[in-house]
Symmetry: C2
Subunit: 428 residues, 2 copies
């Protein structure tokens, strides 16, 4: 099929009629499918059902260090659980803290502490400064942007490249403006594009000169072990090690969780940072809580045992997710390639596929899908303030639907992408 941009008005009109026909057939099917969030499917959870038996009334409830997990104690987490995440993130025992079920809550809380108390050793509370800015690589994770918006930051979009955020732009901005306090990063299998930051990008983030002496990299390593292809695991450089090497160990706060490993609602979240910053965080966290849920930590540690246990589980999970990603990507390739109406990446892991439709068409595509019963993530959601300046990015979340549902949904999506493009070409 030819590039739609080369077609005549008459050809486009013909095409529009065909697409509308096919679209109306979908409308008549009465689909009802929600693909708006990156939700795991039930079969993923079934893979870890043994987690619920890992601790029962007959189990010892003592952690490896003898602490009774039913009681207060082990403020920073139980040692066997810390060991797993230390291995996952490449940090040491005194650089990690095991929290509750939500890494988002940990990030919200960490930024809240920066706002009210200052977290980097010696840093002042940001809430006393008038003008606060945060760098937001785009497309990115809407819930990150919602946090910095809520705290009152002006959010500056940074273009993503195949190697991560556009570092020329980042370096120029942070060197010049001390009101830029940090950057959001999903460094491995980024949400939504599935891009893994190159070594060069990680090193430049660690080494760049920042006008703010309390600049923080919010390193949300949400998909650290979420490879789709065991034979091709993306490699991510250890940014904490790089920050130490660059002489600024307090520049980064790392986050991870098992929300997309064990249970989306009942997993374990962690943060990691330099020892200096950890001392500060511990002092602040002591005010806040007597400790997090150690029985759930114990459950996870006894079930997965170690990072190998997690990797083996993730490979089984990948077997469920690969066909779903393939269903979407094959349809894109079959229906959209060469037509000049869309671009996408083929991620090696993560939870999403990012689809760039023709400029000015994303909202129309999402609306068309919705009107035929398929709810996608809102157009613009992957940008600060929900504003995609080119109105082209759509986040596709393939994990939750079944493959037959996904086939229908993506077939509809491909029609809508083409229809919106043709409508636009006819208008122009």
């Amino acid at each position: 099929m030819a590039d739609y941009r080369t077609l005549s008005h008459q050809q486009l009109e013909q095409l529009r009629r065909e697409l509308v026909d096919r679209y109306e057939q979908f409308q008549q099917q009465g689909l009802k499918l929600d693909m708006s969030r990156g939700k795991p499917a039930a079969d993923q959870f079934d893979l870890v059902s043994g987690l619920l038996d890992a601790v029962n009334s007959q189990s010892s409830l003592l952690a490896a260090d003898g602490v009774d997990c039913r009681n207060y104690g082990d403020f920073t987490g139980i040692p066997e659980c810390k060991a797993i995440f230390c291995e996952m993130l490449g940090v040491s025992f005194d650089e990690i803290f095991i929290c509750g079920n939500s890494s988002l809550a940990v990030m919200y809380d960490a930024l809240g502490k920066m706002m009210l108390h200052g977290v980097r050793p010696g840093a002042k509370p940001w809430c006393r400064e008038g003008n606060l800015k945060f760098l937001c690589p785009v497309p990115g994770y809407d819930r990150h942007f919602a946090i910095t918006e809520r705290y009152g930051f002006e959010m500056i979009p940074i273009e993503m490249t195949p190697e991560g955020p556009d570092m020329d732009q980042v370096e120029r901005l942070v060197a010049a403006d001390s009101s830029i306090k940090g950057i959001w990063c999903v460094p491995k299998y980024s949400n939504p594009q599935g891009i893994t930051y190159s070594d060069e990008t990680v090193r430049r983030l660690a080494r760049m000169k920042t006008a703010a002496d309390d600049f923080i990299i919010m390193w949300d390593n949400a998909y650290a072990v979420h490879d789709l292809y065991p034979e091709h695991r993306d490699h991510l450089l250890n940014i904490l090690a790089e920050c130490k090497a660059a002489g600024d160990p307090d520049r980064v706060m790392m986050f991870a969780s098992t929300s997309k490993i064990s249970y989306a609602g009942a997993g374990i979240a962690v943060f990691a940072c330099s020892k200096g910053m950890m001392e500060r965080m511990k002092k602040l966290l002591t005010i806040q809580t007597i400790g997090f849920d150690k029985i759930n930590m114990l459950r996870h540690a006894r079930y997965f045992k170690n990072l190998d246990g997690i990797m083996a589980h993730m490979d089984r999970q990948a077997e469920l997710l690969r066909p779903k990603f393939r269903t979407v990507l094959d349809a894109f390739e079959r229906e959209l390639a060469g037509k000049g109406v869309a671009e996408w990446l083929n991620p090696n892991g993560g939870y999403f596929i990012s689809l760039d439709v023709m400029d000015g068409c994303a909202k129309r595509v999402v609306q068309l899908c919705k009107d035929a019963g398929v709810t996608l993530t809102s157009a613009g959601a992957t940008f600060p303030y929900g504003r995609d300046p080119r109105d082209r990015n759509i986040r596709v979340a393939p994990t939750y639907p079944t493959i037959p549902e996904l086939e229908q949904a993506v077939a509809l999506l491909c029609i809508c992408v083409q229809l919106a493009a043709v409508e636009k070409l006819l208008r122009d």
Copy 2:
């Protein structure tokens, strides 16, 4: 035995020698006992071991409304868990929110939201106001005071009476000073005295005129069902109902948890408030997290079933705690009564016994105990900034030690209380 304050110098010297002898015998025993915190004992946890079997790999993981507890969803908590806390706190389904494992963290977070965003509908963020004050009934809970201290509040101590905080003082202060933003309350079996607020106190809190239009009552109902004597359960008026009746439903935020019901480290915490404030909190919490641990909610709901299930369990727990409380109180009665050296209350529930020693002696008593191997809560800890102006209050936490340990510890404590008093009388 006569009141020590009536003894001659010679009699006091004689008494001091006897007490020092007995104290030194204790020192030689090499005791090593930590009674500094209100920790549950392992036998309390053993009572609820079935909780760990309430959900296993064979269980349905669907909540009563069909939501899969392993996945995202049911943002405010699963219905069967909400039902239990609604009954416990006397609130409706849309007035309650089920959170993670720590009510302290929920309180810290709620005040953090008041600082940064404002929580009462229409309220401004407090961090923009220069001068913030908070009322702190004393003696009280050190971790409450640590939170308001951390947020930069000036803390104003309010004397406790047998009916709760001195309401004459409270009413006078809040009417006159708009920088007083709230009050900490542990309204039932208060920490550490075990006092339950009278109906009159609750009503006056709900009705009093406050100069601040965003005044908040932090109602930490930590011991809502923690009766020691099933035949005598203290009654607490529903303050949310009273605030509604008084025309200011947004004045109170209620908190509770199962930390002293199921597991100190792995229970469930909740907050409750008016519908108007809940709408505001939900909007703010949506930024922060996709949801709390629903599998732990399910575990608790399936195990306890309803409030009756919790009450039956708490009566069994009371059987373990009553002899511990009695051990302490009987020793106080036997060793300290009538000597003019100490006063205490006999609580009907809760987790602590509050001991007022002779003015100026609390630090000395705690130090003497420590030097003989028994660590008590630091003297002054029950007051803002750790400063007990009369240096007399000691919080005794009888739950964690065994009864033989407790007998030893309290025998030592009674000697130290008398010794410190005699030392003081000899100095004066």
